[in-house]
Symmetry: C2
């Protein structure tokens, strides 16, 4: 019932910073927020089209030569939709970790399998953590710049969380042995 299409809000949020094309939006999502939210072309382009029809955003042809480019700009109704969402208290925060699911059912085979699954997870998290730390270092240099603080805060959430995960990995491996 409650329409849930958060991708709309992601797009409005990104457009509140600057005008972007669908392709740009995908890149922004991939590089900036992908560790807590995802998006795909099959998701973004239709949302862009719908929101344009509803008047929340406007499109502008910014093609360069033969290369098609359609930039979108946020309208005032888009801005108020964004602000309205931001002020709503309820937020769906979901963790869906298949690694934990596998561990939960680890009892039906050799411990080695669980140990290995934890190690795979650990490696992934370590590598993601390095990326986040790279972001954090850059952002920390100019937190006074618009929106940098907000970006930094989300990145630092990721760092805190991932460090805790790694701590757990060590402990869990020891307990399994």
């Amino acid at each position: 019932m409650a329409k849930d299409k958060k991708i709309d809000m992601v797009i409005l949020g990104l457009l509140s910073h600057e005008d972007l094309t669908g392709y740009d939006i995908k890149k922004r999502i991939d590089t900036g927020i992908s560790f807590f939210w995802k998006g795909s072309f099959g998701n973004i382009y239709p949302a862009l089209k719908d929101m344009e029809e509803e008047g929340l955003i406007s499109k502008k042809d910014t093609s360069v030569g033969g290369r098609e480019r359609i930039s979108y700009h946020i309208n005032s109704s888009g801005k108020s939709a964004l602000r309205k969402w931001l002020r709503e208290e309820q937020a769906s925060n979901e963790l869906r970790y298949e690694t934990l699911l596998k561990l939960f059912f680890g009892g039906c085979q050799d411990k080695k399998v669980s140990l290995h699954n934890i190690e795979v997870f650990e490696n992934q998290i370590s590598s993601d953590l390095k990326i986040l730390k790279g972001f954090a270092a850059k952002l920390k240099q100019n937190l006074d710049e618009a929106d940098h603080l907000y970006f930094y805060l989300t990145v630092s959430f990721g760092i805190e969380a991932y460090e805790a995960y790694l701590k757990w990995c060590k402990k869990a491996k020891e307990m399994l042995k």
Copy 2:
């Protein structure tokens, strides 16, 4: 393409512990693993039906009086499907936190809104953390019992993670002020 219906694995995993009805399965999910995986009746019953047709599980009428009860038992093919999945390295570990999304776009309105959103998140996490600690305390008493260790490990993941989240909440609130 790659069929992804993890609910099948959740069900097989739970049935590998004991025979259960669809209703029981829902309860097990809600109380034991809901912080990292969810399930609904509209999800569970069809999966049960499909897996029964495929021969992975068998049903048995365990009705009591006029109250219908259909218990399911895992077959050997079900067990091998479960073990096969457990041995597969790839695991989708996804975090989808709307609170972080809202925070990321916090720049378009008063800081109070972001501060409030963090507090709502903090309260939710605190309350969930208490529940997890309750589980951990009980489980810790007899880790040698079958599968208790695995349950304990997932719960302790939740505790480590949530404690890190709370630490972050404090820091984030300070930085926003």
